[in-house]
Symmetry: D2
Subunit: 368 residues, 4 copies
């Protein structure tokens, strides 16, 4: 339970880091969308390991195969299955994990829940699990951009205590991908890269913040009560590995504002009702208002470090764990495409859900 996400554009992911492979089944993609394996691969390449000197040095090609749901280059409306076989099993790195609990990993909690775990790596809690999300997100992104003109751009705004101010209205994906830390402020990016290299040499790790903007989202997405757009985005983003917090618009900073300072006043601009400011981050009462959607996600420092750490065995005996293996000293650069994927999956789901909300007369045309 809990391997599916989305109500109408529904994805089910599967796979452990050290098993046969990982993948995703997408149920609910409309028919008639042009789709190729290249569309998927493009996003997978943005998240794959070994892409730069500041990510893990594991080499995994993560080559996607589409096994169903696409015919002659177009989606046909039925379930799309995407598969990535696992490679580069260097599982001897994990031998000591069989009995020892890595601090702030999910080894202990998986054992507590299931009474066993795939100890040759992180199993289902490995970040490798996100491959399925990114593959599905690539399809969501294509629907959003090709058809609806909606664009999501995520970027790193903080690494450890180094932060950047980014103009979310103008930032482009090209700027984001222009450097290996994916912070679209070149000078700050340099500092972040240095910091990551420094902590890596020290066998340590750091956290950071990914910010995101959605442009072109129409007003009306999100359901009034539990499935608010904020709520579903928060769920999707907090289901990503290593996330510790999420905020929308002014977020936690709204706390120390007064209503008269925080409220977004309405005005008419170019014949449309708009807000003068966007402290709400594009979502009011849980429903998009047509302005840019703005959010921020906090990632903790990678739990795997190379410094020795005190821990216990699964029998409670004290032990010392020496970090090994090849891991990201900072997940932020590779988190960017993953955050984008989750946002796009939520948006497509709510676009489809919103189709059923209109005046009956208006959707009568579609049905008949």
């Amino acid at each position: 339970m809990g391997d599916s996400f989305g109500k109408l554009f529904s994805i089910t992911t599967w796979g452990e880091s050290h098993g046969g492979g990982v993948g995703v089944v997408i149920d609910g993609c409309p028919a008639g969308l042009a789709l190729s394996e290249e569309d998927i691969q493009l996003e997978l390449d943005r998240r794959k390991p070994g892409q730069s000197r500041i990510t893990t040095q594991r080499k995994e090609q993560d080559q996607a195969q589409i096994l169903s749901g696409v015919f002659e280059g177009q989606t046909i409306g039925t379930a799309i299955s995407i598969l990535v076989f696992n490679q580069d099993h260097r599982s001897k790195d994990y031998d000591e994990m069989q009995d020892l609990y890595r601090p702030s990993h999910a080894d202990f909690t998986f054992d507590a829940k299931y009474g066993r775990r795939n100890w040759k790596g992180g199993g289902r809690s490995s970040a490798r699990e996100t491959i399925g999300r990114v593959a599905a997100g690539a399809i969501a992104k294509k629907l959003l951009s090709d058809i609806f003109g909606i664009e999501t751009v995520a970027f790193v705004t903080q690494v450890h205590d180094i932060s950047a101010e980014i103009d979310h209205t103008s930032v482009t994906r090209e700027q984001v991908d222009a450097n290996i830390v994916r912070c679209p402020h070149p000078e700050t990016a340099e500092k972040m890269i240095e910091r990551i290299e420094a902590v890596r040499k020290d066998g340590d790790s750091v956290g950071g913040i990914v910010s995101a903007v959605v442009r072109g989202c129409p007003a009306g997405l999100g359901e009034p009560v539990f499935d608010k757009l904020t709520a579903d985005l928060a769920k999707g983003l907090m289901s990503l590995p290593a996330t510790r917090g999420v905020e929308f618009g002014m977020g936690f900073a709204a706390v120390s504002m007064k209503g008269s300072e925080h409220n977004d006043l309405f005005e008419a601009r170019q014949g449309k009702i708009r807000t003068k400011t966007n402290r709400s981050g594009g979502i009011q009462g849980g429903i998009s208002n047509g302005e840019e959607i703005l959010l921020r996600v906090a990632f903790k420092p990678t739990a795997t470090i190379l410094k020795p750490q005190q821990t216990t065995s699964n029998k409670g005996e004290p032990a010392e764990l020496k970090g090994r293996g090849r891991h990201d000293p900072c997940v932020l650069p590779r988190a960017v495409p993953i955050v984008e994927a989750m946002i796009n999956l939520v948006l497509v789901d709510h676009l489809l859900r919103n189709l059923t909300k209109k005046n009956p007369e208006s959707f009568k045309k579609l049905v008949t």
Copy 2:
């Protein structure tokens, strides 16, 4: 769509602020739980308006009736329906809302979504919608406390820029309810109350932070991928009106820590595997680890203020809105029982879901 929450302990709420009433149907409550209307009323009274000089002065008794699912004082396993009739309709306060959009309310987004709205109040986006959540949460709370020994305590830790340090291990609900702002630090509470009274006199409003601790939660709750305990808590909490952010454990502060500073080392204490520190806030890899669950929720300042504001009509004509009606200058005191309710609803749902995860041999006993 979107009026239901929870997979196994599933609630469906209904009702607008100015209609026949509000209520909730709870589907999945186990049979055999002692339950009375008083159990429900206790929590509703903590959220009801008019309870103090710093909340809205509307007088609504919010009297709960249980219409099904309880027989001779016990739940019988079938759907529990709870109803609260609406009272105190002073809807003439809302007459000007028919055409005008209140800034940072959901008037505009509801119109954008549905092409119409119940303009006599906030309709489904009114905080009155949370009555159903609190009523259902009272049942969840009873299951947690009577049977599992799990206790959730929420409390106000910040109002505007006034914040308090609270020892989450020792704080009690009695301390929380000892003052009208529900901050269990009496001196700070006084300052918060003064601040709320000041902004109210000024026709303005303020936001704040509700923190919460869950004690006694067993390890193993939460699903590995999308339905992580953090993810479902985030969704539940971000579906509450006026929330702008949520964080777990160290939250956004984890960003500027190193892995060696943030990791929680394991040790054996009293024969149990425990963490020495609890920076993870009791959840690792999305699954509870048996430590205290710690989280914080950011609430924006109330959108309704009495100062005049620029806005437009639903036709885009400029207009000035003069705030009227009786509203909370700060939602925090009444948000405390609502936050507790959402946390308890998520916990019960995951407790039930976890029942199906064990070794087949162990649950065989239960089934047969």
Copy 3:
């Protein structure tokens, strides 16, 4: 669990026969549908007890109240709550049920499942539970007829061993409601009524068959694999009390046909692709093909009879049960509106689901 039905037009029912009341929450009804309590009451009156000499003589007015989701005569897109208070509690009729299991009722299975039951009547297994379905079905019917020109007509085609051949293409609801047994063949209806009165005098009961036709359903409703239109209709209909079987098109008679006899050949008629015959009953591969949908539902004889029956107590002691109370000697006449309601609920749900299946270009118009 299990009190909700439908994915996009989702209903949650609640209530026992001898509790505060029964009701339903409808989540997902599009905004802008004209709806009044009279629309609901019309269908409830067709199922209510005491409507004729061949139904139970209990007098229940079953007066529906709409408590939310409707404003100024139109649906507003949010959850619609409908409530019917219980009346006519003559529960002393049930005193002996406290310990004894009525044969072929759900007393024993509820005790086996929950360890307790509301023994003052059938509780949640009472046919009174279907009030919520019929109320929600009235809304579905209105959407289907007012907007899509789809009409469902159900009718009795068999009572005990008396059956009627009905021309499903021409039969009208007026013909169905023209007699108290709801068989639109007047001569056969007379015989059925006589039979029901005879078994009633004998303290016994009889079963029968409800047939139904759906006219005007567009091609394309139903999902290819698990949520076939046949599958969802079968689930809905087999969830009705006292049903024992369901069949579509030729049904069980198809078994002894050859492919060359059963296949429906295609032809063009009036510029549309149609089938020459309709042995498939309007559904092929689980998806509607634009022809009339045809189905039949088998109902067993009412379990409650007035003849004495052998049974046991809940402790397994032998006992004799003397039937009492006022029950339907044949559920068929009142089953007709219930079958219609379930069919209409499934159709609306699939109409909404189908909205999301089209070419992205086509629904782009709706969303933006």
Copy 4:
């Protein structure tokens, strides 16, 4: 949408007959079940084509690979992905299908729904889709038999107009698999085989009935309202290709019985409360009562026949279709393992759901 089935033991299938492959993801299988690829293969071999002279002569090995969710021979509680690559693409057999609609197939309805289809075979409506169900059903079967002592046996009781009376209490799977038509009455089986061979020679096809018995099912499975055990079984079975009806216990024959003839009286046997007869087929009020579950499923004659048939092109032009390819003249023999799989999937799902229904005190032991 509609590619998933089951609430707690949830399966998602994917794949078309002429694409990369077919498969299934199982979400919710408890940890600790011994499971190998052989367990899966055993059931796939019972449904695979080419297994006898009365099934299609296509040769597909349908070799299952488990890609996730199993570690060191045991399930680990996370999603199990099973993959079968497609082989034997002789898709030139399908060239004329590109434009022509095969009568009583889903070609027309898929085009009506999606505006396109994978015309190289039946696509998602091909019976090949059931591989995923059978693979998942093999796991369900293992849970049921190894842990709960529950056994499902399905068998052919009718082919065309040749029917057999089978003692459902004593019939074994060995008897069923002892002949190629899977009717456990050897003399009748011979006649059925002759009939199938005769219609095949004639280029025609026939339908039939699969009956099934479940032994050892505890009382208490099934939910009171919509998710009755009958309802979920009916949905599962009516979602199988070529099914036209389903009935439980006496089924349609109950219609012409009186209540005094149909009711199952209770008695105590060996200290347990049992029914003297089992006309209810083991399910009362939608909940299992501990007796044998009995049901029957009607299958239509295979739509593919080798006789020429009138049809139209997708533009409505008249055309003649000459059947080609290698198809089953009767689906019944291969339907037996598929029916068993669906029943077992429903039973496991309801066993898990029932875990959450007990007295809180009883499940407290499991959780903590």
